[in-house]
């Protein structure tokens, strides 16, 4: 956050004639968190990397057998309800709860196994403290169990172009029409 505010004031200082600096984020944006993740290719990726586009975001872990595969299906079904052109303008970001076991290789294996296109889908990991903060921002509950599993809420969340939570659903059986509608509305907002 510090750096973001610094950049913001820098931009203000440099362009004092500009009425609204493009860098100013809304106060209720989760992109206020200055966080860097690592993606399935082992590349650093900032939490706000997809700023400017709507993003479907959720949290998961690769060894999860039950709800997590449903989560990926639900994100896929949501995408499938869009037109090809719309689909290209929506990113999907899945963040692991499990920094210990979910290495970039594990994430890559899951992306391969599920046929997830890396230009649209980011599977990411980060350190435990940052996971906790992201979960807090997304209002995700999770807890590590002694057997290595995680107890966690399972929701698909839509962020608007500025990183604000625009919609969320816990209905993971197919595409949730309300979520799809919210995605379409966000895409319409972004249309020039």
């Amino acid at each position: 956050m510090k750096r973001r505010l610094l950049l913001g004031s820098l931009a203000l200082a440099l362009a004092s004639s500009a009425p609204t600096p493009a860098l100013a984020l809304p106060g209720d944006s989760i992109y206020q968190l200055d966080a860097t993740l690592t993606d399935q290719r082992g590349q650093p990726v900032r939490l706000d990397a997809a700023r400017g586009q709507p993003v479907l975001v959720s949290m998961f872990y690769t060894s999860c057998q039950f709800v997590c595969p449903m989560l990926i299906d639900a994100a896929r079904d949501t995408e499938a309800a869009l037109t090809e052109a719309q689909r290209r303008r929506v990113k999907v970001l899945l963040i692991s709860f499990d920094p210990t076991r979910d290495t970039p290789d594990k994430l890559a294996a899951m992306a391969r196994q599920r046929g997830l296109d890396a230009s649209q889908w980011t599977l990411a990991r980060t350190d435990a403290a940052t996971v906790r903060k992201i979960a807090a921002l997304l209002k995700f509950q999770y807890r590590a169990l002694p057997d290595g599993e995680f107890n966690h809420s399972a929701e698909l969340i839509l962020l608007d172009a500025e990183g604000r939570i625009a919609a969320r659903t816990a209905n993971l059986a197919g595409a949730d029409e309300r979520l799809v509608g919210a995605v379409r509305r966000q895409l319409a907002v972004g249309q020039p």
């Binding site: 944006s29 968190l33 807090a136 807890r143 169990l145 002694p146 107890n151 966690h152």
Partner: protein, 240 residues
């Protein structure tokens, strides 16, 4: 200001080392009926005070009320203002508490760490089965909270930690991991499908209202929320 708090102000925050051990938590799930292992850690002797938080906010302007993004601290943030007293700071969001702890090279304690430290009394590491221990805490809960909070520096427990009971509620790192249902007495979990990991959530020790009330409060909060009776203290790894 008492002698203890005066010394604390001079010396910077004081942390007390707690040995590794096991805890029968009030929280339990079907997968962890064994006592929870707690690694050795260090816990702040007292909750963070209003004076200490004032110094933090002065040194870190992005955390000033009015400047902090609402996603990190909502409308109740520091509503009572700050001053130079040794009363515990309240009205602090989880994000603000976490940022403060990071500024001390620390973090918030986990729930288990907090519960482990708070199970002690002056002479025992686990006094929770003592009806007098429970009655004392419940007596505090019953006191009206309309006056200003007393300063930190109450009696030390067996580890040397103060004010775990009787002053404020406290944030923990994993406040959003406690996952308590509105009614955990029923085995049929209505939200089962909302959670991965089969979500069988249960409360091990239903008689322990004194601690369960903490769990209920923390579970009801969002990370940007704050209340007038919720403060925090920090924890650190022990370096040996």
């Amino acid at each position: 200001m008492g002698l203890t708090t005066a010394l604390l102000a001079l010396a910077g925050a004081s942390y007390v080392a707690l040995p590794a051990g096991t805890l029968d938590s009030v929280l339990a799930r079907d997968t962890d009926r064994e006592p929870t292992r707690i690694a050795a850690f260090a816990l702040r002797e007292t909750p963070v005070t209003r004076a200490e938080f004032k110094r933090f906010v002065d040194a870190h302007p992005p955390w000033q009320p009015g400047r902090v993004p609402t996603v990190f601290a909502g409308a109740g943030y520091l509503l009572q203002g700050l001053d130079d007293t040794a009363a515990p700071v309240t009205g602090v969001s989880w994000f603000a508490a976490q940022a403060y702890c990071e500024s001390e090279g620390a973090r918030l304690p986990t729930w288990y760490e907090w519960e482990y430290a708070a199970a002690a009394d002056a002479t025992r590491t686990d006094a929770r089965q003592d009806p007098a221990w429970r009655a004392r805490i419940l007596g505090w809960y019953a006191r009206p909270a309309n006056g200003p909070l007393p300063v930190v520096g109450g009696d030390a427990n067996v580890y040397g930690v103060r004010d775990l009971h009787g002053l404020v509620w406290e944030w923990v790192d994993d406040f959003n991991a406690l996952l308590v249902n509105a009614d955990s007495r029923s085995a049929a979990d209505p939200d089962r499908l909302k959670f991965c990991g089969a979500g069988a959530i249960d409360l091990q020790d239903r008689q322990n209202y004194a601690v369960l009330m903490r769990v209920a409060l923390l579970s009801s909060l969002g990370a940007a929320d704050s209340t007038g009776t919720l403060g925090f203290r920090c924890a650190r790894e022990v370096t040996r």
